[in-house]
Chain length 410, copies 2
């Protein structure tokens, strides 16, 4: 019987307890022994929940109990999560967490401490919720040179973009709906500004490169500027819009970017809708593989956490070596990366505007969505900085009003 | 340096040699030591290929060489593959194979022999080509009660159905095209009759149940009867048609089925096109996860084989316990399973035919594809045997001509 402690009895924490209780037979079989939740740490009491019998308000009860083999950190935030996790690892307890903020900020250090103490720091649930992605990267795709990872890594924004597209709604309206449904927080910045997605692609990139990728250096643009009109154009083109995180790897170099991207609906990621996530991995021999599923939600996320607990218990006393070094990975500036962009412009004189565009970008595809005094076009594939310079010139051209919006194409 | 032998220098065998040579650095890192191909067994010589230096025509060279730790069986067929694999395992060599026919027929016995000899019998490439699916089932989804697996497991037939749909072609024409492109064999039965898919769902089901699922007991219907006209109706309904393998698990019971199925294009499997495969796994807590990628092809398949080699080398002297028993899994007769079916009927008197259908099935959706003297309808959800009995009655009803085709709905 392996005894564990759960830090935090919120959505994921209560899900972890539920998964362990309902699937204890299969868990016991796969872990090699049964698993018992001995403590749940929370500031609150839960008088109507059987969990009350094992609630503690004092982390010392857990850290000083040598019976506890695995600590499950599902509190969120980086403090005191970091201090608790660090102390647990140093005491020879493995830690499993769903906390992407913690992993993105302190992963390198915590992985090193786990290794030094011959325990494991595991965080499958921190990316893609219930979708197995970190373990496949570490354990399954073991003979590939990974060239690219592109993912829809945030269910809230994917739900919002899906709903804006399906129902022709404005951003503000779907945000309100997502908040009412509990998909988006009252302060939605972490989701809608792309910060959550950014931390996840940083974690994936660290696994691929084996070095620390600083999430603060990743170019990150959320969905707050995507309008109903933009989506009208996207639909007109028969395409879809997604908040994509992309990281490309080439030898020791890499770049990464989070932004809304227009994509073919027949692309495997183009069909990932609602709160689902999809993560595409491109290997040099394997080609594209994609992992799809619920990127959030109580039980799917808890399921990923519990699969980590199973691994930790099964590999007692043995660090699994799923790690990256504290060496910093340099990121190539994305302004040098080639991309094609969808550009909406207003005009005073259409013929002059069309002429200015063809002078600036050559022969491009023009998209009309039946909106007065504006149209859109697709730039050729050029370095971001070149496109941006050309767009700034274009804004000053005869007959052109202003550049109304710019969205990358996949 | 781990030394291995490759049995068979066909498409997959030469791919294995290529992946090991081109990705040797990452492979060495993940396996813990470098991997060298010491022998390739083939009846042929390859005078213009560097592989000629390590070609042997005699399996005894391999089996009697104690340096060989891993034998890679990529010959196909069950004999002499079975004898070679068995002898290798008994000699304490791990075996990695892409041979689904071998695994479906002799998997239980070979897994037992591997366990007895503290080596591994691994076959990631036998299902889904390059897609990691067996290892995720064994290693990642470890706290779930698996309720269903449904997959597009054969790239050839998926290519054919995709092409029939996109280009409005007849079965015979796309078969010819697939044969010309090398996707389909001269004798295409293994693919088009569903036998290949059947073996793969049997392997997946054995992993889930932990018992031997006899592929010969799985109801299997290929795509040979799917016509251009059927697909006209499918398109009219805004849906897609796929050759799906489904297995459902409930306690100790299960059923499995391979057949063409009509599915929503927005369903994750509905968007899996061309030679791609997709495998959806439903867990009781996790919900749906899907694994997508190239289900065949030289390098993707070889990549999965090499990931098995990495595992075998990394776990020298230790059976990984990815196994099922030789106990037989009972299959529930699918005639008792509820399903909804698409039915095309011809008529002599339309009003009478419609009346007969509503007498037989109640209020159903009628689909017209603008074809003279016929229409289609969708039955309610009923046991297969009940639907079949009702359809036989319907064929004898006043005004009804005959039942032209019947396809299951997802």
């Amino acid at each position: 019987m392996a005894k564990i402690a759960v830090l935090g009895y919120g959505t994921v924490g209560s899900g972890v307890v539920e998964v362990i209780n309902s699937n204890n037979k299969v868990i016991g079989k796969n872990a090699g022994e049964n698993i018992e939740v001995k403590y749940v740490l929370d500031l609150r009491d839960f008088p109507d929940d059987p969990v009350q019998n094992i609630i503690t308000h004092d982390f010392n009860d857990i850290i000083n109990d040598d019976e506890i083999e695995v600590v499950v950190e599902v509190m969120g935030g980086t403090s005191p999560a970091f201090e608790f996790v660090k102390a647990s690892l140093e005491k020879g307890k493995s830690v499993c967490t769903s906390n992407k903020a913690l992993v993105a900020k302190h992963g390198s250090e915590l992985l090193r401490i786990a290794e030094e103490n011959k325990v494991n720091f595991l965080f499958e649930a921190s990316v893609g919720g219930g979708i197995p992605i970190l373990r496949p990267l570490n354990n399954c795709i073991t003979c590939e040179v990974i060239e690219e990872i592109t993912g829809i890594l945030n269910g809230t924004t994917n739900y919002m973009l899906t709903k804006m597209t399906a129902e022709g709604l404005e951003y503000a309206d779907v945000l309100k709906d997502a908040q009412e449904k509990g998909y988006a927080e009252r302060n939605p910045a972490a989701d809608v500004e792309g910060h959550d997605t950014c931390r996840k692609i940083a974690i994936l990139s660290s696994i691929v490169t084996g070095r620390e990728v600083n999430f603060e250096e990743i170019y990150t643009e959320g969905i707050t500027k995507v309008s109903k009109t933009d989506i009208d154009y996207v639909k007109k083109m028969g395409k879809a819009i997604k908040l994509l995180a992309t990281a490309k790897f080439d030898g020791g170099k890499m770049w990464a970017r989070v932004s809304p991207v227009i994509i073919e609906p027949s692309h495997p990621l183009g069909n990932v809708s609602d709160v689902y996530n999809g993560i595409l991995v491109k290997g040099n021999c394997l080609g594209d593989v994609m992992f799809y599923g619920m990127g959030a939600g109580k039980l799917p996320t808890a399921s990923a956490v519990v699969s980590d607990i199973v691994d930790a218990v099964k590999n007692k006393g043995k660090n699994l070596g799923f790690s990256w070094s504290e060496e910093k990975q340099a990121l190539t500036d994305i302004s040098t990366v080639e991309v094609s962009k969808f550009v909406r412009v207003s005009y005073s004189v259409k013929a002059e505007a069309l002429n200015a565009i063809s002078q600036t970008f050559g022969d491009v595809d023009i998209v009309e969505a039946g909106i007065e005094n504006e149209f859109a076009f697709i730039t050729p594939l050029l370095a971001e900085s070149v496109i941006d310079k050309k767009l700034s010139d274009l804004g000053n051209s005869e007959g052109v009003g202003e550049v109304l919006s710019v969205i990358r194409m996949y």
